[in-house]
């Protein structure tokens, strides 16, 4: 298949797909005009029935909590898959890496330590970032945000420690075993939180906690604990994936420095 045939083939296929695309766009509802009934119902009922001010979080963790459990398992499984794929084969561990070290010390390829200003600013930002992440997790039912977003922000904190050039501290903060246990505990907590509803004779993940006053931190029933579990699982998963990536990529290069 030479270049010209390929181009014609592409053009014909593109025309066909463009026709389908146009016909699909013509049948879409007009921009900004929502036709389903559920959105209006949710907008009307959420604050009164569940005492939650952020409808998206209410939908995710209350109205269709079991779907979110599925999504969380997908995340968990993909993290596990990455960890399995990137595990170190035992033959590679004791490989000689002297050549790499010398290659890194060639002219123009030295590893510069980050300057004092960068280290101080980065490490100083870790504390505020952790506090902000906890705030986002804890206020998931009041403000935009929740377990996922807050978990990602929390996972960014150890990454900043690594970026300050301190791989040793990163490994101590994000101890690989602890992180993996944390991820498993996050998913397990979500699974267990569904059980009390069944014990009380209702459906799985049914709310059993008092709903509280809408607008307060302690409101919305089960959403806050579920958010905390999600946050733990997401942040631990992200840190674990980054850890194996780092180990795979940079471990041998840094040996000369330490």
């Amino acid at each position: 298949m030479n270049r010209r045939v390929r181009r014609w083939f592409f053009l014909i296929c593109a025309c066909a797909i463009f026709g389908l695309f146009v016909s699909a766009v013509r049948q879409m509802p007009t921009f900004g005009h929502y036709r389903g009934p559920y959105g209006d119902i949710l907008n009307r009922e959420t604050v009164y029935e569940r005492h939650i001010t952020d409808v998206v979080t209410a939908v995710n963790f209350d109205w269709r909590g079991i779907d979110t459990l599925g999504e969380e398992s997908i995340l968990f499984l993909s993290v596990i898959g990455t960890l399995v794929l990137l595990r170190k084969p035992s033959s590679e561990v004791n490989d000689s890496h002297d050549e790499n070290d010398t290659a890194d010390k060639r002219k123009g390829r030295e590893i510069p330590l980050p300057s004092a200003a960068t280290r101080v600013a980065t490490l100083g930002l870790v504390g505020p970032l952790v506090v902000f992440g906890l705030y986002i997790v804890a206020h998931g039912h009041l403000t935009p945000g929740g377990g996922f977003q807050g978990g990602v922000i929390l996972a960014t904190a150890p990454l900043l420690v690594y970026l300050a050039g301190d791989l040793k501290s990163f490994k101590r903060i994000a101890n690989h075993e602890t992180v993996q246990i944390g991820e498993a505990l996050g998913l397990l907590g979500f699974l267990i939180l569904g059980l009390p509803g069944m014990i009380r004779g209702g459906a799985y993940l049914r709310n059993v906690l008092p709903l509280g006053t809408s607008g307060h931190v302690f409101s919305g029933g089960m959403i806050a604990p579920i958010n905390v579990c999600t946050g733990v699982a997401v942040s631990a998963g992200l840190v674990a994936v980054t850890y194996v990536f780092l180990e795979h990529t940079l471990e041998t290069r840094l040996r000369g420095r330490r």
């Binding site: 002219k107 123009g108 030295e110 300057s115 200003a117 960068t118 980065t122 930002l125």
Partner: protein, 115 residues
């Protein structure tokens, strides 16, 4: 009424300074010159924005969060510019300390000297 006009003026100042700095970003050629235009946005523009938010809302959630934004951007942007400039020099010369032929006031000489 006076407050509304003051808010509008402050917002105009904020937007104008940001726009000028963004335009300068493509008009100025050298990377090291370009980096300077990050500073006015993080100090002056955000300060005008903070004043406008405070006038609009008084002492509220938004004002407190804008103060935090100002603090973070003001303190951290200088360090970010420094890190970027260092990366640029490392890519250009292989190390970031002054070249023997460069004469920078108060800077140590050569790649061998320690910082």
């Amino acid at each position: 009424m006076v407050a509304n006009i003051a808010i509008a003026v402050l917002l105009a100042l904020c937007v104008l300074s940001t726009a000028i700095c963004c335009l300068a970003l493509i008009l100025v050629k050298d990377v090291f010159n370009r980096m300077h235009y990050l500073a006015p946005v993080t100090s002056f523009s955000v300060l005008a924005l903070l004043a406008a938010v405070a006038l609009q809302n008084g002492w509220s959630q938004g004002t407190i969060k804008t103060i935090l934004i100002l603090l973070v951007l003001f303190l951290v942007n200088a360090v970010l510019t420094h890190a970027t400039a260092r990366a640029a020099r490392v890519r250009q010369f292989g190390h970031w300390l002054p070249h023997p032929k460069e004469h920078i006031l108060g800077a140590p000489h050569g790649p061998s000297s320690q910082l």
